[in-house]
Symmetry: C2
C-alpha cells in the first residue's frame, strides 16, 4: 500500500471513524483503524468498528499501490491532527506489511500496524428492508428522543430509541421508565424498498450510542440530503454519501408506550417556554441540593403558576410566571431535570402542560408544531 492524500481529509476521516473505535478494546486490533487503499478507484477507505458500532468513510487519494493495513487509531489520529494542512501526507506500507511510514514535509513517522485480515468485517447488510429518508427528519427525530433513553445497561431495550417507519411517517420513541419522549413526523419518507412488494413497516430499536453517532454524521449533511437505511438480521446500516454507519439492533419487544399516554386531560397550562426554562434552572439549584423535586402550583384567578423548591436546611425559593390556565387549580411535583430535558427539546415559543391529578402522568408538548412531539413525565408524590 502506498498513497498520497490531503491532511484535511485524512484528519476528518480519522476523527469520524475513531468514534467507533473501542475505548477499552477486547482485542488489540479493535484499538486500530482499518485503512484500505484502491489503485483502481483512487480512493482511501477508513473503518472503525467496536463490534457494536461501525463507521466507514471513503475519500479520494493518489493511490500508487493498493493495499490494506490497520493502525493504532489514537496514535495515528493525534499525529495527523498536529500535521500542517499545507503539505500532503504520504503513507507507505513496507513489504512485510507491518510498518507504515508516514511522511509530510520534514516530518517522518513509523508506526507498527496489524494485518487487515485480523480486522473484523463490517456487517454491511444491503438486503432486507430498505428505506430512504431525508436526513434532517431523522436528525429531528433523534434529537427529540435520545435524551430520554435509560443509561442503565441492565434496562436493555430502554437504553435504545425505538424507530418506526411506515409508508409515510417516521415515529421515534424513548423512555427510561420515568419519562417518555415521542416524535411523529408525517410525510417524512417515501418507502424506497429494493423489493417493490416489500412494503412492510420497519420497526427497530437501536442503542442510543449508535444513534448519537448517526445524529452527528447526518448533522454534517445538507438538510435536504437523503440517507439510506438497510435493516436485516439484527443489524442496521445507514449510508449517507461516502459514509457508512452500522449498528447492531437491541432485540426484544419495545414497550407499548402509546397506552401510557392518557386520552383526556382535565387541566391544561400554557406557558412561555424560555421563561419556564430560566425559572426552572434557578429553582433547580435548590432542588438539586435535596431530591431534585420542584412543585408547580396553578392560580387561575391571578393567571399565574408558581414553581418552587425547598431544600430544607439550605433554603427555599419560588418563581412566578404568567400562564393561561384551564381547569381546576392543582399542585403537582416533578423531577426538575426530567421537565427541563423535555422543554429544552421543544422548539416552539409556547408550551402546553396537560395533566389530570398529582399522581397521574402529565404531558408537555409544543403549542403549535408541524411534527407531533409528546413528552410524558411521571409526577413525584409529595406529602402535602
Amino acid at each position: 500500500m502506498k498513497l498520497v492524500c490531503s491532511q484535511l481529509e485524512l484528519n476528518s476521516a480519522l476523527q469520524l471513524v475513531s468514534r467507533a473505535v473501542a475505548s477499552r478494546p477486547t482485542h488489540p486490533v479493535l484499538a486500530n483503524v482499518l485503512l484500505t487503499a484502491d489503485e483502481v478507484t483512487s480512493r482511501l477507505s477508513l473503518t472503525g468498528f467496536d463490534l457494536n458500532l461501525g463507521i466507514q468513510t471513503t475519500f479520494s487519494a493518489s493511490v500508487e499501490k493498493s493495499g490494506a493495513v490497520t493502525l493504532p487509531a489514537r496514535l495515528l489520529g493525534e499525529i495527523v491532527s498536529r500535521l500542517s494542512n499545507d503539505s500532503p501526507i504520504t503513507l507507505d506500507l513496507d513489504e512485510a506489511g507491518q510498518q507504515v511510514q508516514l511522511t509530510s514535509n520534514s516530518s517522518s513517522y513509523q508506526m507498527r500496524g496489524m494485518p487487515a485480515d485480523d480486522f473484523p468485517d463490517l456487517p454491511l447488510v444491503e438486503s432486507g428492508m430498505s428505506l430512504k429518508i431525508t436526513a434532517s427528519y431523522l436528525v429531528q427525530a433523534l434529537k427529540a428522543t435520545i435524551f430520554s433513553t435509560s443509561s442503565d445497561e441492565a434496562k436493555q431495550l430502554l437504553t435504545g430509541v425505538h424507530l418506526m417507519f411506515n409508508g409515510k411517517s417516521i415515529e421515534a420513541a424513548a423512555t427510561d421508565g420515568h419519562r417518555l419522549a415521542v416524535l411523529n413526523i408525517e410525510d417524512a419518507l417515501k418507502l424506497d424498498g429494493i423489493n417493490a412488494d416489500n412494503h412492510d413497516d420497519i420497526s427497530v430499536t437501536l442503542p442510543s450510542r449508535s444513534l448519537s453517532e448517526v445524529q452527528k454524521l447526518l448533522s454534517n449533511l445538507k438538510p435536504e440530503e437523503h440517507v439510506s437505511l438497510f435493516c436485516d438480521r439484527g443489524q442496521v446500516v445507514f449510508i449517507a454519501e461516502d459514509q457508512v454507519l452500522t449498528s447492531r439492533t437491541l432485540e426484544g419487544t419495545y414497550p407499548n408506550y402509546s397506552q401510557l399516554i392518557p386520552d383526556e386531560f382535565s387541566k391544561s397550562i400554557e406557558i412561555d417556554r424560555r421563561s419556564l426554562v430560566s425559572a426552572l434552572e434557578r429553582v433547580a439549584v435548590l432542588a438539586d441540593q435535596h431530591n431534585n423535586v420542584f412543585k408547580l402550583t396553578t392560580n387561575s384567578s391571578s393567571e399565574e403558576i408558581k414553581v418552587s423548591a425547598d431544600a430544607q436546611d439550605v433554603g427555599s425559593g419560588y418563581e412566578s410566571l404568567p400562564a393561561i390556565i384551564q381547569g381546576e387549580n392543582i399542585t403537582i411535583a416533578f423531577n426538575v431535570r426530567y421537565v427541563l430535558d423535555g422543554i429544552k427539546a421543544i422548539d416552539s415559543d409556547r408550551i402546553l402542560l396537560k395533566c389530570n391529578a398529582p399522581t397521574t402522568p402529565a404531558i408537555i408538548s409544543p403549542l403549535k408544531d408541524k411534527s407531533c412531539f409528546t413528552y410524558l413525565v411521571m409526577p413525584v408524590q409529595i406529602r402535602s
Copy 2:
C-alpha cells in the same frame, strides 16, 4: 442588613471571591462568603477566605440598612448567575440574622446564613514592607514562572514562586527540581515604602495557587494600573482598585537558583519558536506513549536539527528543522513536556538553546527580549 444591587456586579463579585472559598472546608462557615453592607459608604463588600487565600471585593449598592452575614457561596453564586441582568437584586436579612431573602423580578429565594462573627478575619496587614507595581509587569512575571512550580505538596517551598523586589527590578523564579524558570524585569517598580528609610529588598515565596488568582485578578486591570503589595508576618496582601487578595507566604530559604545556571556554554542553537513547538507537539504524541523523552541532534553541516522520539513497540518518528548552530554537534535528550512548557512561555519569534554536554543543564531563552527570561532544563541521560 438590607440592600439593592445590580445582578451583573453581584454576580462577578461572587465569581471572583468564590475562588478563595474552600472546596473541602474544614469548618462549615468556610464554605460561605461574607457579605458586609455599609449604609454610610453605600457599598457592599464580599469576602471568600480558605485560611490560606483570601479575596475581597467591594462595589456600590443602595444600602438601606447596614449589616453583615455569611451565605453558602456555591448556592448563592449559582442562583445569582442564573438571574436576569435586567432586574436589580434585593437582599434582606431577617431580624434573627439567620435567613436572607433574595428577590428579583418575580423570583424569591430564602437562604440560611451563618453569623458574620463566625467568619475568620482576613489578615489585612498594611504595615511592614510596601510596594507599588505596574500590574502588567507582575502578570508577566507570574505567567513566566508559575508553570514551573512543583505540584508535589511534600516539596513545600518548591510549590511556590519566589518573588524578589529591590529598588528597581522584579525577579520571579520557580523550580520543581527538574527545570527552573526565572524572569527578571528591570525598572519594573518604584519602591513606595510607607517608611522612606525602609528600602530593604523584599524577598518572598508565595503558593502558586494564590499567585494564579493574583494573575487572574490583575489580568482584568488595565496594563498600566498599579497594584500595591504589603508584606508582613507571613502574610502578603495585594490591593488593586476595589479588590484585595491575601495569601500566606511559604516559610523557609528558597534555593539559591542562580548558582545552577552555568556561566558559559560551548554550544548554541537558534531556532524558529513556532516551528519547534509544532514539531515537538507531534513528537510528543510518541514520547508520551513511552517515557516522555525526545532526542535533539544537531547537524551543523546541513544547518538542521532533528527532534525524534522512539516509543519502541508502537512506533518512532522525527522532525527536521533549520537552525543556526554554533559549536560542535551534540545529541541531547529532554523531557518533551518540560521543553514545551518553557518555549510556550516565551513570547519571541526565535529562541536560543544553549548547552555544554548531554548531562549538564541546558538553557532556553528568547533571542531578543526586553525582560530577561531564562529557562533551565535538565537533560535526560540516554544510553547511546
